[in-house]
Amino acid sequence: MPGVEGFIYPNELELQWSVLIVLYPFITGLVAGAFILASLERVFNVEAVKPTYRLALLTALAFLLVAPLPLQLHLGHPERSLEMYLTPHTQSAMAMFGFVYLWYLMVVLVLEIWLDYRRDIVLKWRASTGLSKHLYGAMALWSDNISESALKLDDRIGRALTVIGIPSAFLLHGYVGFIFGSIKANPWWSTPLMPIVFLFSAIVSGIACILLLYFVTCWLRRVPVDMACVDTIAKYLYYAFLVDFSLEMLDLIHRLYEADESFRALDFMVKTRLFTSQIVLQIILGTLVPLVLLGLSQLVTFREKTRRVLYVLAGSLTMIGIFAMRWNVVIGGQLFSKSFLGYTTFKMEFATREGLLPAIVLMILPFVILWALIRLLPPWGHGEGDRGSRARE
């Protein structure tokens, strides 16, 4: 059969999960990571990252709204997906997605953003006219109480929500790792480390994403970058990445040393079909290079301009590395036969339901949503300039 090397079970020729399922952990990872970065400011009072607090929340929301779409597109019967809520099979890890998702979306993220923005929404409601007055009115739930005591209450509830939100973000992405890690039939996936590796890679990608978005938004708005802020974010990125890298290496070393029945097949796969995406893109370009860049910026005091270039480069490479990691997990896990005697090939289509085109559209969509959210709820200050610039003063 074309594209097959060695022996595979006859039913294994076609890959079951395509590039859309690669997007699913990638996007939920960005959500969890962005939220955790936002929580740093709120719960742990890290003042330096304040300029990115609201941006991170809105980014998390934009990506979270898109997160179920690749799954929906991939289903053979998307019209039946509601059954996952109505008649869930409680033993199924996948059945819990809807509940974890709704909890996170509605209870944590939307509520937290609403509480944080309530004062702004009410002020906009008062100031605007026509259609937007109705819109902001509805968003404020027609309550215009922004007295000091009401705002204080908002803040207290918001803080409590963030405290609930951090474990929820952990749950959201750890759970995505569990979907793969709990499949005992597939040795490439089946490891209890999977949820933890997924979680840390999520934090890494979320932080890198917000770092890049902050640079882009500063550039678009022609405001100076708050160096204290990006320095701190880069520091967190470095530490999170170190943990993530250590976990992945632990997994790798464990596999190499144990060398169980699947080892030869997986080893061969990594050295051939996955060489570019795993060794070159994920490990060297996407992990080691950004780690060295970020490590250098911790050790050596560079000029501001050099640091900015360094951070943008490290952030971009990190995003590529994490995407490659998702690719290698999802696609790599389906390239070898469960007989461990052969390999198949992934053929990416373009303009089909699960092809490259919908994947590209799905990757652009969160940025469109984010743009709309930013228009609706500007994350920078209360009209008088940047929160970051205030923090610097």
Binding site: M1, W17, S92, M94
Partner: protein, 254 residues
Amino acid sequence: MDQDRRTFLGQTGKLLVLTASAAIAWEHVLAGRPEDAPNYRSTDHWWGMSIDIEKCIGCGTCVRACKTENDVLREEYMFRTWVERYVVDPADLDHPQVDSRNGGYDGFHEREVLDPNLKMFFVPKLCNHCTHSPCVQVCPVGATFESPDGVVLVDKSYCLGCRYCVQACPYGCRFIDPRTETVDKCTLCYHRITRGLTTACSETCPTGTRVLADLKDPKDPIHAFLRENMVQVLKPQMATGSRVFYNGLDGSVR
């Protein structure tokens, strides 16, 4: 009889209600879902299959019969049952030469190996109807389920087509039927066995390699098969409680 009117009416009323509910319940039992046969009781059976490797001649009749009986697409990568041909160097069990061209549908023409140092045999495969099925466990809506008589089935009117079960099956027994966009797999010819018939593959096997087994029937030959042979299941390390029992399964088989 010292029974007053009140007690009599009370007891009669209770009897009437009980009879009515029992009648309704009995009607449901007799309606026979999932099976329609009036004499079939799913709780009386516990299905499985025995496969005698030494008897298999690799003719592929079972594969053809299955595709015909169950309207399986003739594609080279969609099988409810298939046959693999193993050529093994006994000194190197880790590297068997395996092929299953068109799932064995056309039969294997090379039925002997010339090299006297190698051994060759055929392994028919199908869904193992596991007692602890990973596929049943992962289905998000319960469209894949185990019937009371131990057969793993799919409700195609309910399946989302998420393919999680295909990933979870260690044996590669599942595939997506493009006509329905739902998962497909061996049903152990459930439409036949509930009518007292055997499976299409067992029915047509010329050598009696594959035999449908009812583990709850004390007279079923499966008990002698399990007792008298050294029996193994596929991938026992997966602990799925497989109910397809192989006699003469070589250590090289995956």
